[in-house]
Amino acid sequence: MQVEMSEEGGVAYFPGLAKPVSIDVDSMEAGAADQLRQLIEHANFFDLPATVGTPAKGAADYRQYTLTIDDGPRKRTVRIQEPIEDPALNELVQAVRKHVKAARAAMREQLPKR
């Protein structure tokens, strides 16, 4: 299972953060992978509409995530707008963000220092 997330919006646009980061769930440590699978099922991710959340009129600088989960026969991309009302989906997004953050930190270690 592949999970891919990009992040945009917020008070500034950062091309680096808008680049999608992929996580290979199958190569993750078993406990973390199980937890992620459970959160995905719990959030009914594969049955969600293509976009979730609409910002209030006049709102600004809110963030948006694009989350794609590819589980072989099941694949879905959902654009999620903050604030995330659905607690199960919010839990999933926060969990994925932690993995993305770790993946970014690892990528950063490999980048040449300037």
Binding site: E8, V11, A60, D61, R63, E82, P83, I84, K101
Partner: protein, 359 residues
């Protein structure tokens, strides 16, 4: 309310007066009597509205409210979400209370105050809606939350993750930026998408920067014109989120990428990302403002800021207004305020021309 009760209220129904006239002329006796009564009440409201409009036009300010007030009064409340995502959270500091010792709470409180004072002292504006709206901010929102936003009612600040961002209350111009979104929504409802969205963003940067300059008593030439300096965490290669002086130069970091802001129409970015590049193309009007303010010299809020503020309130600004239309309005406003052919009027034309927009 209009259609399902027998007691119709013209203020809710907004029956056009010519329709009421028709009823008066052609209706039954009962209808005529009802319509005439309606119209007399309605006319009172229309007359009041017109009188207010005339007063606003004459002074540039809203007509005084009937009840005497001691002038603009701040009504700040800073809440803490205690790292949850619940809004507004628990009260951390209310108006008049002394400092709490919590950095984010006190910075938000002071930043709300600085923003309120700026609009009150420089533009005689009584809070975000010019009617004394309470200023509400929530700090400590979410876990390692890397953002600050305006949810159409209040400001929200994350603490940052310490790796990319520091706490979002650290920059006064970010606090001013978020509150200015409220002012823009109140005055012009610039749609948060494509060019009108980039103009909306630019308004927030302009006023955010002016608030910081006003608090530090900096002239246009002394100011650094950075938005969100101090916000990027140690180790990130960059100085701020954006630079109005030199858009595109604020950061260039392996993790964040390079500052994507253009400063000329020839580099305008067409994209579906970021609501059509609202935080990207805002570099163009941002830079025009910087150029105009530094050409005029002195304190940027005195002249360039006044032109921008009056242009934002101009009735020709529509929700879909783009750069070109706004530029023309600033040019007109400058002529009205300082005279055709004045230094200020010329500076506005030159500043916009330098970013590729002819007024």
């Amino acid at each position: 309310m209009c259609r399902h009760t027998h007691h119709r209220n013209p203020i809710f129904c907004i029956v056009p007066p010519y329709v009421l006239d028709e009823i008066v002329q052609k209706g039954s006796a009962k209808q005529r009597s009802a319509a005439m009564q309606t119209k007399s009440v309605d006319n009172t409201f229309r007359a009041l509205r017109l009188a207010n409009q005339a007063a606003r036009r004459a002074t540039g300010h809203p007509a005084p409210t009937p009840t005497p007030t001691p002038g603009p009064m701040k009504a700040r409340t800073v809440y803490t979400a205690n790292h949850s995502q619940t809004l507004p959270g628990d009260v951390a500091r209310a108006e008049g209370q002394s400092a709490t010792g919590d950095q984010a709470t006190d910075e938000a409180y002071d930043g709300l105050g600085a923003t309120f004072d700026f609009f009150a002292e420089k533009f005689e504006r009584n809070s975000i809606d010019d009617s004394g709206m309470a200023l509400i901010a929530t700090v400590h929102f979410g876990q390692d939350y890397n953002n600050a936003f305006w949810n159409s009612e209040q400001m929200v600040f994350g603490d940052g993750d310490g790796e990319i961002f520091n706490r979002f209350t650290i920059s006064l111009d970010i606090i001013g930026h978020e509150l200015a979104h409220g002012v823009t929504e109140d005055e012009s409802q610039l749609q948060y998408f494509n060019q009108s969205g980039a103009l909306n963003e630019s308004m927030s940067d302009v006023f955010g920067s002016l608030i910081k300059q006003f608090a530090g008593k900096q002239t246009a030439n002394d100011a650094n014109w950075l938005i969100g300096d101090g916000l990027l965490a140690r180790g990130i290669q960059g100085v701020a989120l954006r630079s109005m002086k030199d858009p595109g130069s604020a950061f260039d970091d392996p993790l964040l990428g390079k500052d994507p802001q253009p400063k000329h129409m020839q580099d305008f970015v067409n994209t579906f990302s970021d609501n059509g590049g609202v935080h990207i193309n805002s570099g163009i009007p941002n830079h025009a403002f910087y150029l105009i303010a530094t050409r005029i010299g002195g304190y940027a809020w005195d002249k360039a800021g006044r032109i921008w503020y009056d242009a934002l309130r101009d009735s020709r600004v529509r929700p879909n207004t783009g750069f070109q239309r706004f530029a023309r309005i600033t040019h007109d406003v400058a002529a009205r305020q300082f005279g055709v052919g004045s230094t200020e009027h010329q500076a506005v034309a030159d500043g916009w021309a330098e970013v590729g927009i002819a007024v």
